[in-house]
């Protein structure tokens, strides 16, 4: 279990998290924005589990389980909001939702 260095987990986690943040910024479709958010959450899980394997703890795995559960909640509520936006406003691009512009 000590053959994989901790930095390897963190490098993979950082690359995945950065790609997720980039997807959050550049994506136009609302559903693909949420998919990029799932990518970022997975990157954090990789960091937790990698640190666990390095340090011989189990707290990171427990928090990874919590993150998976909260990602399920976030997907349910976020996709519900997106479907409501589709149904009532007939827009699906992030730059068309300008109701709160001052």
């Amino acid at each position: 279990m000590k053959t994989i260095p901790l930095e390897a987990y963190f490098v993979v986690s950082m690359i995945l998290f950065g790609l997720g943040v980039l997807g959050l910024i550049v994506r136009r479709n609302l559903i693909t924005v949420l998919m990029s958010l799932e990518l970022a959450l997975n990157a954090v899980n990789v960091a937790f589990v990698g640190a666990d394997a390095h340090m011989g703890l189990v707290e990171g795995q427990i928090f990874a389980l919590f993150i998976i559960a909260l990602a399920a909640v976030e997907a349910a509520v976020g996709l519900g909001i997106i479907i409501a936006i589709f149904r009532y406003r007939h827009v699906e691009s992030t730059d068309e939702i300008t109701d709160m512009r001052g």
Binding site: R28, G80, I83
Partner: protein, 177 residues
């Protein structure tokens, strides 16, 4: 060494899939790339020795959440989705240096944290009775209250999703245009 090679294989798979998630324009291809990335991350969990988290990743993420996204994709008005450009290209190019700066900051913080990382107290227990048993015993004793709070959050999220997604009697027109 073999474990490290398997880890590199799954890591390369996950990163290639993540690039596919960010770059492809058709949402169906994006959800397939996301599914591939979730499976690769589950493989990383298995190589790290976290078989419980890996199995739950496969069950909850790669099955339940991915199928949920596919269901929602069927509600997208497709003719409008394929008509417009799928990315903010100039914004992406302009924000790329900031994202790289965020990378750099995370590298520094992580490497500072590696120096200060504490020693493990469960390593012998994990080697003796197995990882999933230790995770379960700690989860249901030390973090039992947090576990119950997560279950309440799941219940609240379910009620909220039902309330948001229900059919309303009137539609709201865009009066800002």
């Amino acid at each position: 060494m073999v474990r490290f090679l398997i880890f590199l294989l799954f890591s390369a798979w996950a990163i290639v899939s993540a690039v596919g998630v960010v770059t492809f324009s058709n949402p169906i291809y994006v959800i397939i790339w996301l599914l591939s990335c979730l499976i690769a991350v589950a493989g990383i969990f298995f190589t790290a020795g976290a078989e419980l988290v890996g199995a739950l990743q496969l069950l909850i993420y790669a099955v339940a959440i991915a199928v949920f996204y596919v269901f929602v994709l069927t509600a997208v008005p497709w003719e409008k989705a394929v008509k417009k450009d799928s990315h903010y290209r100039t914004e992406g190019v302009l924000s790329l240096p900031l994202v790289l700066l965020l990378y750099l900051e995370m590298v520094v913080v992580f490497l500072l944290g590696v120096v200060a990382s504490p020693e493990g107290k469960f390593r012998e227990a994990i080697a003796k009775i197995g990882n999933a048993e230790v995770v379960g015993s700690v989860l249901f004793t030390k973090y039992f209250f947090a576990f119950e709070v997560v279950s309440v959050v799941l219940l609240v999220g379910m009620i909220g999703a039902v309330l948001i997604g229900r059919k309303e009697s009137q539609t709201y027109e865009d009066d800002t245009a």
